[in-house]
């Protein structure tokens, strides 16, 4: 229809078809979208669950990355297809919001679209489908609330939190030590959490990694570790009861922001200038020294002379510390970041019980560890591992576990994992579907079917006969009226997820349903794609 005719029969062009590389409309467009989305979800499917597999990604520059994290996979996949890009966004928003369940959300969306395709084939209009989905989604989220369970925990009783974190880490490479890793993650979150306000600032937890050693050498440090060494080789490497001066100005003569030039015309001026310069350095050091500081942490560099003066005045210093790190140090030590030497004073110093430089292995990598800070609200998780990829993956996994724990502190309701909640929601929706009189009934039912994708994928990845185990569990759920029954991925001979301690957070799961549903709705609403050919923009 890109060419129309006016009343005199003269043609005029609405859309210049020739330049468009391709144009897909109506059902064809839907089909192509669904296919693209399905492809993405199929890639992700095998990463789901405790027995999920990893993906190896080779970046543009040949760097290798091995991961199990849905959001990371999609982010690095370099998808070109517009619908596939939507799926990438979907996983990313789940990551930003919840931090976990990034794989599940994509698999769910893919499965919803797969079901929608069949309905479209039947001739049901996409609008009706997504309206049905909307209804079903509402039922599902309501139902999730009814089957949720709340867990009790306190600062002394963190066991339930550890259990949940373990579920989250179960699918990652760190699961060999997932008890230890979960403990680290939970302890980290608890130490920075504000249980009164039910809030956690994850920025207070720093994840630092260094290859070498073993995964089980990973540790939680109450304090901060930064990837820097003391600036002068002869300064003390261990400072007890440190009083830290945090500076964002370099130990150099000031550089006025306005452009200037000092013209030296006489030999006397030259001498005077030399003296002024010397004075700058001594003044700067003296000012810092006068506050009683015994450690200087600076965002910028030092001149050689300043460096030596600091050494002579017994002021160990650290240079080129990143802005973010500096902020964290300020938070932990209770110090104030000072931007001008005129402003340094004793009350702006940060304090720490122990600051030391630590080295690893045979290379000269030095780390500065700041411990025993007055504000325990800052901790660092220091990850070790046999190679770079493992360390990176462990960092990502721990980040997920941190997010999950945070979510639990915000909202202590959990639902049981292992696909049990999906099965239970599916059953509920199917039951409700019968009461719907309109065409949406089909769509609602399709939603219920789509939910099966998660337990199916879980069973498949665990090497169980997928359809058989799903139908068994479904039948059991109906018979025993027990929504906690799920797929027994770890072969522990029980389907009760409560007994297996497999939890997910309620907001996480609800979010998965809502986000997947939204994206599906968006994709179903598109009925026309116009893709510009390469020559079109010229």
């Amino acid at each position: 229809m890109s060419l129309v005719f006016d009343e005199y029969g003269n043609p005029f062009i609405v859309i210049r078809d020739q330049q468009a590389k391709e144009r897909l409309r109506g059902i064809e467009a839907h089909r192509s979208h669904i296919l693209a989305a399905k492809t993405i979800s199929n890639i992700m499917k095998s990463s789901l669950g405790p027995k999920g597999m990893d993906k190896m990604m080779v970046s543009q520059d040949g760097e290798v990355l091995v991961t199990n994290d849905g959001a990371t996979i999609l982010e690095n996949m370099q998808v070109d297809n517009q619908i596939a890009k939507l799926m990438v966004q979907l996983s990313k928003s789940q990551d930003d919001e919840i931090g976990d369940g990034t794989t599940g959300v994509v698999v769910l969306a893919g499965s919803l679209l797969e079901q929608a395709e069949q309905l479209i084939e039947k001739g049901i209009h996409p609008c009706r489908i997504y309206e049905g989905y909307e209804t079903a989604c509402k039922i599902a989220t309501e139902h999730l609330k009814t089957i949720s369970d709340s867990i009790e925990f306190s600062k002394d009783n963190i066991e339930p939190l550890i259990k949940t974190a373990m579920t989250c880490l179960g699918s990652k490479i760190v699961n060999r030590f997932h008890r230890q890793m979960s403990e680290i993650a939970v302890k980290a979150v608890i130490s920075v959490a504000d249980l009164e306000r039910k809030d956690v600032n994850l920025e207070n937890i720093k994840l630092e990694g260094k290859e070498g050693g073993k995964l089980e050498d990973t540790q939680l440090v109450k304090g901060i570790i930064i990837d820097k060494g003391i600036s002068h080789p002869q300064m003390p490497k261990i400072i007890k009861d440190a009083k830290i001066c945090l500076l964002t100005c370099p130990f150099e003569p000031p550089k006025p922001k306005t452009k200037n030039s000092i013209e030296i015309t006489k030999a006397e001026d030259f001498k005077v200038l030399g003296e002024i310069e010397q004075k700058y350095f001594t003044d700067m050091v003296e000012k810092v020294k006068a506050t009683g500081a015994n450690l200087v942490i600076c965002q910028w560099g030092f001149d050689d002379e300043a460096n030596h003066l600091l050494l002579q005045n017994n002021l160990p210093a650290v240079r080129w510390v990143g802005g973010l790190d500096l902020e964290k140090i300020a938070m932990a030590t209770g110090g104030r970041i000072v931007a001008r030497f005129e402003d340094v004073s004793a009350d702006k110093l940060g304090r720490a019980g122990l600051v030391r430089e630590v080295g690893f292995g045979t290379t000269q990598d030095r780390y500065l560890s700041i411990e025993d800070c007055p504000n325990t609200n800052a901790v660092t998780i220091f990850v070790r591992g046999g190679n770079k990829m493992i360390v990176e993956e462990a960092k990502r996994s721990i980040h997920d576990a941190l997010c999950v724990t945070r979510n639990l502190i915000r909202d202590n309701r959990v639902i049981y994992g292992g696909g049990s909640s999906e099965i239970s929601c599916g059953l509920k929706i199917s039951a409700m579907a019968d009461d719907i009189a309109s065409i949406e009934q089909y769509a609602v039912r399709a939603f219920a079917d789509a939910l099966d994708a998660i337990p199916l994928a879980l069973a498949e990845n665990s090497g169980l006969p997928s359809i058989e185990s799903l139908s068994t569990v479904k039948a059991m759920q109906i018979k025993e009226k027990n929504p906690r029954l799920g797929i027994d991925c770890n072969h522990r001979d029980t389907n009760d997820m409560k007994a297996q301690h497999v939890f997910d957070t309620l907001p996480g799961k609800t979010q998965q349903f809502l986000l997947a549903n939204q994206v599906v709705k968006m994709i179903l609403k598109i009925d026309d794609i116009i893709k510009m050919g390469p020559g079109a923009d010229e």
Binding site: E28, R31, S32, L35, A36, T39, I43, S46, M53, K55, M56, V58, Q60, D61, G62, V64, V66, N76, M77, Q78, D80, N81, A84, I173, G212, K214, H232, E252, P253, K255, P256, K259, S261, I262, E263, I264, T265, K266, A267, F270, G274, E277, Y280, F281, D304, N307, H308, L309, L311, Q312, G361, T362, Q364, G386, N387, K388, M389, I390, E393, G463
Partner: protein, 532 residues
């Protein structure tokens, strides 16, 4: 229906995806290829490799060091890259065992591939391997010996470890000589594991045997013209300061003069400033001045006049080491002589090594530092010798920190594989197959060592296995005579930490590769200036 047949591009053009079996195959093939590449360098009779640089065909390296080989070759396969990375990490962390870690991971994957072909699920293999790893580690731990309380015995241990490490390298022929050298060097550190204090100098010429350990510190620099060439009990000032022209650092400062006389005055002022600085330096009461930066003629002359030996352009490392060994402070300002720590030693002299003059600081107070002077026929030999010495030093430093040792010569591998085999026998289910495969992979290490030495590996390894099962926990391969011997008597000892690190990292890497079922390759970045 045409659109259904039309392909829908999901990934970027040029990006590729390998899935399931194919992905697994490609990672196995890559990992095994890398393993086969380096495995011939393993053991006392391992062979060397020549590496030729792509950019400069004249630049070649002859080496036996796994990490060096692996980091230098160009690899496209992602699984192979993981192996290269563990090898490099091993090098950074413990310094030796870089080949073993790669070979063990590769052999694990080779066994894993066989199991996958028999339709065992990778996750089952992984859980089997995990059980096996725990058992192997426990077995390794129980086989350790610790002689740290007995000084003489510990030194003997260290010597043996050094010999074991060196025996696979080019220094093989002179291994006793070099083993003594590195052990002396490490023991001088008194438990300090910082290898900075050991300086290695390479001078071509002479033979490897002429290499020696110098108890002083050797700086590869020249003493300034007209300065005394020999100083006893010198007072050394170590500085990092500009001795050419002292720039004005205040931003925007520049010199503008309007007449020749002013210019001359300015020059004088500059000169005066420099001389002033020199005077301040001399006022420290020193007779040796070492600077990181250049020392120009004017100050050099001043120093010579005042009987101060000046040494210019010692680089960062040199300065730091020198400061460390002489106990001096690195100085950049000279206004407070009373605060500056002056370094000292017994004697500074200019000596000749081969054709070159170097400066030797001997009788150093802290006594920790020393210099290893390597001599050899060609630069390639020297390079390789340095790498070998570095490996040996690292291993010794690790052993000094973690004093437990294990037996080498395939003995500890056999102990582990025996324990793992026993575990497999009592484990029900498919996991047992994976556990067995782990034991088999461990046995591959002695097999390769024997193969490389040109012996009948099947015969030797089965004999070794039998010996261990009969309860001889010290049986190992005697690669001199091609038979089974007592590893302890043979003196083949390795550091426990290195061995454990090999085991753990190899397993971690193998598991990581095993878990992959999909390889996504991004389109290579477009490089406009690079034509292929």
């Amino acid at each position: 229906m045409s659109s259904q047949l039309a392909p829908i591009p999901i990934l970027n053009q040029n990006a590729s995806e390998e899935r399931g079996e194919i992905a697994r195959l490609s990672s196995f093939v890559g990992a095994i290829a890398i393993t086969d590449l380096v495995k011939t360098t393993l053991g006392p009779k391992g062979m060397d490799k020549i590496l030729i640089s792509a950019s400069n065909p004249n630049e070649l390296i002859i080496t036996n060091d796994g990490a060096t080989i692996l980091t230098k070759i160009y690899i496209d396969n992602p699984a192979a890259k993981i192996l290269v990375d563990i090898s490099r990490t091993q090098d950074d962390e413990v310094g030796d065992g870089t080949t073993s870690v790669c070979v063990l991971a590769g052999e694990l994957l080779r066994e894993g591939e066989r199991l996958v072909q028999q339709k065992v699920h990778p996750q089952t293999i992984i859980s089997g391997w995990r059980l096996a790893l725990e058992t192997a580690r426990a077995a390794l731990q129980s086989s350790t010996q610790d002689h740290s309380s007995d000084k003489v015995k510990f030194r003997e241990d260290l010597l043996n470890i050094a010999r074991t490490t060196l025996s696979s390298k080019i220094l093989h022929t002179e291994k006793d000589h070099f083993a003594n050298m590195v052990v002396d060097a490490v023991l001088r550190l008194n438990g300090n594991t910082n290898l900075d204090n050991i300086h290695i100098i390479k001078k071509s010429g002479g033979s490897l045997r002429e290499s020696y350990l110098d108890e002083g510190f050797i700086l590869e620099k020249k003493i300034g013209v007209g300065c005394p060439k020999r100083l006893e009990n010198p007072k050394i000032l170590i500085a990092n300061t500009a001795m050419d022209t002292d720039k004005i650092k205040i931003f925007g400062g520049k010199v503008v003069v309007d007449s020749m006389t002013e210019l001359a005055k300015m020059e004088d002022a500059e000169k005066e400033k420099m001389l002033n600085k020199c005077k301040k330096i001399v006022d420290h009461g020193i007779n040796c001045f070492v600077n990181r930066q250049l020392v120009y003629n004017l100050p050099e002359q001043y120093f010579a006049e005042h009987g101060v030996m000046s040494i210019e352009h010692a680089d960062f490392d040199g300065i730091e080491r020198l400061a460390l060994v002489t106990g001096a402070e690195i100085v950049s300002t000279f206004d407070h002589p009373e605060l500056v720590k002056i370094g000292t030693c017994k004697l500074i002299e200019e000596v000749m090594i081969g054709e070159d003059k170097v400066i030797r600081f001997s009788g150093i107070p802290s006594g920790e530092a020393c210099t290893i002077v390597l001599r050899g026929a060609t630069s390639h030999i020297l390079e390789e010798a340095e790498r070998s010495i570095h490996d040996a030093l690292c291993v010794l430093a690790v052993t000094v920190a973690e004093t437990r040792t294990v037996l080498g010569a395939g003995c500890s591998e056999m102990i582990m594989s025996k324990a793992v085999d026993e575990l497999a026998a009592i484990t029900p289910g498919k996991k047992a197959m994976a556990i067995e495969s782990f034991a088999k992979a461990l046995r591959q290490i002695p097999t390769i060592i024997a193969n490389n030495a040109g012996y009948d590996s099947s015969e030797l390894v089965s004999q070794l296995k039998a010996a261990h099962h009969q309860g001889d926990k010290k049986a190992g391969l005697n690669m001199r005579d091609g038979c089974i011997g007592n590893a302890e008597e043979l003196g083949v000892i390795e550091s426990f930490k290195v061995k454990q690190q090999v085991l753990v990292s190899a397993h971690e890497a193998a598991e990581m590769i095993m878990r992959v079922d999909d390889i996504l390759r991004a389109a290579p970045r477009q490089r406009s200036n690079l034509q292929h």
